[in-house]
């Protein structure tokens, strides 16, 4: 091999890398929080909500799931300003991630809701709870628990997918790697470092989500 690896730049660019990691983390936290909330709402409407409310949510889910994330991002960042809605690149990236994760988690959570035994709804009903109260207090938590592993994987996938937000100049981890290699032409080193950090982040995120699962759902389901 004739190529000489050179990682001496790391010290100089460390602040940039750290800032990139911070942005990636922010993206995933906000994206996951808003996205999953959106997913729950949407799953409730699709599984149990009033019929007339369903079509727009079905359209939303299908549209998002069947088009690339990058194009959704472009639409939000470059497209929405034409109707007077302007977001900064970070807001746009956060929004795009939330909208994207919302659609995927909707489908996942819906599966969890549909796996709820009918007896749970009937028990709720026979205790005079309304369908919404039953959903809120009886169905939702076990449904989330049932699909927590699938939801966690999806969150990790979305975290890795967030790499493309660098295309709208959001300064995440991938942006940092690209910036560094554009200055010093050390593309391999920059990408190897970024890959290693992504791997670390995804392992930590997975473990974190597993821990959160234990904290949120201490009991095993029957």
């Amino acid at each position: 091999m004739t190529y000489q690896f050179d990682f001496s730049w790391i010290a100089e660019y460390l602040p940039l890398l750290l800032a990139g990691i911070a942005v990636t983390l922010e993206l995933i936290f906000v994206g996951a929080l808003v996205g999953v909330s959106l997913g729950i709402t949407c799953a409730w409407i699709r599984a149990l909500g009033p019929c007339w409310l369903r079509p727009p949510f079905v359209a939303y889910v299908e549209l998002i799931r069947n088009t690339p994330f990058l194009i959704q991002l472009f639409f939000i960042f470059f497209g929405l300003p034409s109707i007077g809605v302007q977001f900064s690149e970070l807001q746009a990236a956060n929004l795009a991630m939330a909208v994207n994760l919302g659609a995927y988690s909707c489908e996942i959570i819906r599966a969890g809701i549909q796996a709820t035994p009918r007896g749970q709804y009937e028990a709720g009903a026979s205790l005079a709870m309304t369908p919404f109260e039953t959903f809120r207090h009886v169905v939702m938590i076990p449904a989330l628990q049932r699909i927590w592993p699938a939801l966690s994987s999806q969150i990790v996938i979305v975290m890795l997918g967030s790499a493309v937000v660098s295309q709208i100049a959001a300064e995440d981890l991938t942006f940092a790697a690209n910036y560094i290699q554009s200055r010093n032409f050390r593309a391999f080193e920059a990408y190897i470092v970024a890959t290693a950090i992504y791997l670390l982040l995804s392992i930590l995120l997975r473990q974190g989500l597993r821990g959160l699962g234990w904290a949120l759902f201490p009991r095993r389901l029957p």
């Binding site: 472009f74 302007q86 200055r183 593309a187």
Partner: protein, 242 residues
């Protein structure tokens, strides 16, 4: 030291083909025609060099993210991708003499008051990441200027047209092309970025190839073929200092 392949120039001659990386997302240096074939200043330069070398040219489309790896892994012999040079980059690859000027300027709508780099204070400027204007602006812009670096030219232009940035730095030909579309926001040249020319990139320790390409560049400047390319793509003659 290069062990396996003794000399890139010898390889090229033996192969009868030179592989050259050119951009496809950075007009006027490189973009595509309706047949998706590459066209632009860099593309014409690549073909010129091939012709003068007497070998066939194999164009390899690249982006700013992968153009150097293509070179470093010997998948191409030259990178003609409007590369600017700096000390850091020179540690990684070698550069030939300049082959193109860089007529890039800072553009903004008429109502934005900018006359020099210092006036960029507090403004948001869009550039294409890794391009010369990115490197130069990063050097000359004041602290409070915010530089947004997009993946390619398209991102920079879209950011300008959608109002995400007030100011962009780009080629004057590109600005002219935007104007031709009659957009709501009309970019106006505010000032020229320091004339910092483009170089051809090649692997380190290839003196033979380096000399040959430099010779071709010098010859092309003299015989007017490079000037023709400049007239065609930049709408201006090659400046004397190149």
């Amino acid at each position: 030291p290069q062990l396996a392949h003794a000399d890139a120039l010898a390889d090229i001659t033996k192969r009868g083909t030179i592989r050259i990386a050119v951009p496809q997302d950075f007009p006027p240096f490189g973009s595509v025609g309706t047949d998706m074939k590459a066209v632009g200043y860099d593309v014409d330069t690549a073909n010129l060099i091939g012709k003068k070398l007497g070998v066939k040219v194999e164009l390899v489309p690249v982006t700013s993210a992968n153009r150097i790896p293509y070179l470093q892994t010997n998948k191409v012999d030259l990178v003609i991708s409007s590369l600017g040079k700096n000390a850091e980059r020179e540690k990684a690859i070698d550069f030939t003499n300049a082959y193109a000027p860089f007529f890039n300027g800072v553009f903004a709508p008429a109502d934005v008051k900018v006359a020099a780099a210092a006036d960029l204070a507090g403004k948001t400027i869009g550039v294409t990441r890794g391009a010369i204007e990115d490197m130069e602006l990063t050097k000359i812009a004041p602290e409070t200027a915010v530089i947004k670096r997009y993946e390619d030219n398209n991102g920079t232009i879209s950011a300008f047209l959608s109002g995400q940035v007030d100011v962009i730095a780009t080629g004057n030909v590109v600005a002219a092309a935007i104007l031709a579309r009659n957009p709501p926001k009309r970019p106006e040249m505010k000032f020229l970025i320091k004339n910092s020319p483009c170089y051809i990139g090649l692997n380190k320790n290839e003196p033979a190839l380096m000399d040959k390409v430099n010779a071709i560049i010098a010859e092309s400047k003299k015989d007017g073929s490079l000037n023709a390319i400049a007239e065609k793509w930049l709408g201006a003659a090659l400046p004397a200092d190149i």
